[in-house]
């Protein structure tokens, strides 16, 4: 039994490492010189250098703006999306308006279309309103795109919170705000965090809309990666490696910090014991 267990674990490790290899390659490359990156056979032992990062901050003047844009755009839009979704999901879960199921489906169907299918009308709309290259307008779009999925996650969690809690709050004199934010909200924290992380990853990685309806002032890191890759003639491997490595840090930290909530979030709140 024990050797089968070890074999199983070895296999899992092998698969995990295989999947992690490209990530490891890009992170290692960030500390290599251009020659070391392109060496054949690949160099595993090399003298690490921070020159790539220094270059990124010195030579690439828009890097800081792009990094800040990525953070501001994703955090702001996701905070708005989660707040709106929580209230919407609360209404769906508690008041069960006529046609709740259909509305929920309609909401999700927004996300069934691939981005390129909706980019044209959105572009025309943004151009007509003069909203291009505006942080507020882009945040609005990302929030709109993050809401359907968040409502779905949060409704699952809210359905798992007995309505008796709400009633106990109301009977004892709690206002609606009290019931929603002080009684129910603390009980769906894992759901809020899961919705936050999932959407954060989406907006953090978003390129297409940033490219089309954004502009010089709102460029984010995916944009910088896509555009900067060929900027000096050939493929700029040191730039890609250094930028990608920095780009990886915030989501990895966020996921690491909240990983125990993410596991709950992935079950959509369906596995909950009632207290």
């Amino acid at each position: 039994m024990s050797w089968r267990r070890s074999l199983y674990h070895t296999l899992l490790w092998a698969v995990a490492l295989l999947w992690f290899a490209p990530v490891a390659w890009i992170i290692l490359s960030a500390f290599k010189t251009r020659e070391d990156i392109l060496a054949t056979p690949p160099k595993l032992i090399f003298t690490p250098t921070l020159q790539n990062f220094v270059d990124l901050f010195n030579r690439n003047t828009s890097f800081t703006t792009q990094f800040l844009n990525s953070i501001v755009l994703s955090v702001t839009s996701v905070v708005i999306a989660v707040a709106v979704s929580f209230l919407a999901a609360y209404a769906f879960s508690r008041f069960k308006p006529r046609g709740t199921n259909f509305l929920m489906f309609l909401l999700l169907s927004v996300r069934m279309l691939p981005g390129p299918a909706v980019i044209l009308p959105i572009f025309l709309m943004y151009a007509a309103f003069g909203w291009k290259d505006s942080h507020v307008a882009l945040v609005l779009f990302y929030a709109m795109f993050s809401i359907p999925f968040s409502v779905w996650i949060l409704k699952g969690f809210l359905d798992g919170v007995s309505i008796r809690y709400d009633e106990t709050g109301r009977v004892n004199g709690g206002s609606w705000a009290h019931v929603i934010f002080r009684v129910v909200l603390p009980q769906v924290k894992p759901g809020l965090i899961a919705a936050f992380i999932f959407n954060l990853i989406f907006v953090w990685n978003e390129f297409l809309f940033n490219f089309v309806i954004g502009g010089v002032r709102t460029q984010n890191i995916p944009y910088a990666l896509a555009v900067g890759t060929y900027s000096d003639g050939g493929l700029n491997w040191t730039f890609i490696a250094a930028l990608t490595t920095i780009y990886l840090v915030p989501p990895v930290l966020a996921i690491y910090a909240f990983q125990k909530y993410l596991l709950v979030g992935m079950t959509f709140g369906t596995v909950r014991g009632e207290v």
């Binding site: 809690y165 009633e167 109301r170 009977v171 004199g173 603390p186 009980q187 207290v275």
Partner: protein, 356 residues
Amino acid sequence: MAEVVFDGVCRRYGATLALDRVSLTAPDRMFTVLCGPPGCGKSVLLRLLVGLETPDAGRVLIDGQDVTDMPPARRPVGYVPQSFALYPHLSVRDNIAYPLRLARAPAARIREQVARVAELLSIGHLLDKTPDTLSGGEKQRVAVARGLSREARVFVLDDPLVGLDYKLRERLMADLKTLGAELGATFLYAASDPLETLTMAQRLAVLEGGRLVQAGPVEEVYAEPAAEAALRLVGFPRANLLAGRRREGVVEAGPLRFAAGGPDGEVLVGLRPEAAGPPGRGVAGEGVVTLVEDLGAELVVYLDCAGEALTLVRLAEEGAPAIGTTFRFGVDPADLMLFDRATGLALGRARGREAA
């Protein structure tokens, strides 16, 4: 003084009438138990009193004051919901203090009151725990404590012991009764278990299908059911109801035949299992034993009387009859109740002593 009066309340959900013109008075400082099958409207009635629902028609009065449209927070009512609904993110202490905090009571007052109800329910040692570390019975006590911590004159308990194991229920039932007497408040209590109903009640209200069947002191409802539903829904084991017919002053129902004056017609004959005795007590009957439950001091004997099922309670010292044998019994005619089969209303009793 906190007399609770429901005055002709109706509540409709879509096509179903959950409460149909229910008028009920729960006297001050009394323990009134609402009983009835699931879905009979007892929870809805309590929710109207608490203020979680508004009646479509009728009024709810507490101490003579109309509270029908008063928001729940302003009613002097403490509520223990069916599920415990303890806040998992708060400690037991904060859970109990919750109604007081919301009412913005001063901190000293909260401390004092929490200590008082915690002592009342002997949960003082649990105050710093969180609800998820408590056992079912402890959670229930905390839920009751939270309901009682409110300064209220009326306390509403909606089937608070459902789902607890038997021993715990017995203990909590006793505790709740003592508590009711100590607090000197009016209690309304919904129960789904027939034993719990009889144990807890001072006054009893029987509901079925959204209508009030009978209300009164518990002894009276037990001894003099005003309708067949009151007989059927109160008491354990379940009372027998035999379909029969009265013709020229003689009633025939299943194995029973006895004289009972009154107009001819279709009747139901009610007999409490515990009212049957050994043969030779007036009305005689017999049936084939299908099952015997030995409860220690008593035996519950299930009979098949030519197709009609009959349940009787006999003393254990008489010895358990063998299954498949014929069992004879006698009934005092004064224990045979007659109901109109169409309306379910009581028609009186078979008073005569003539054996069939």
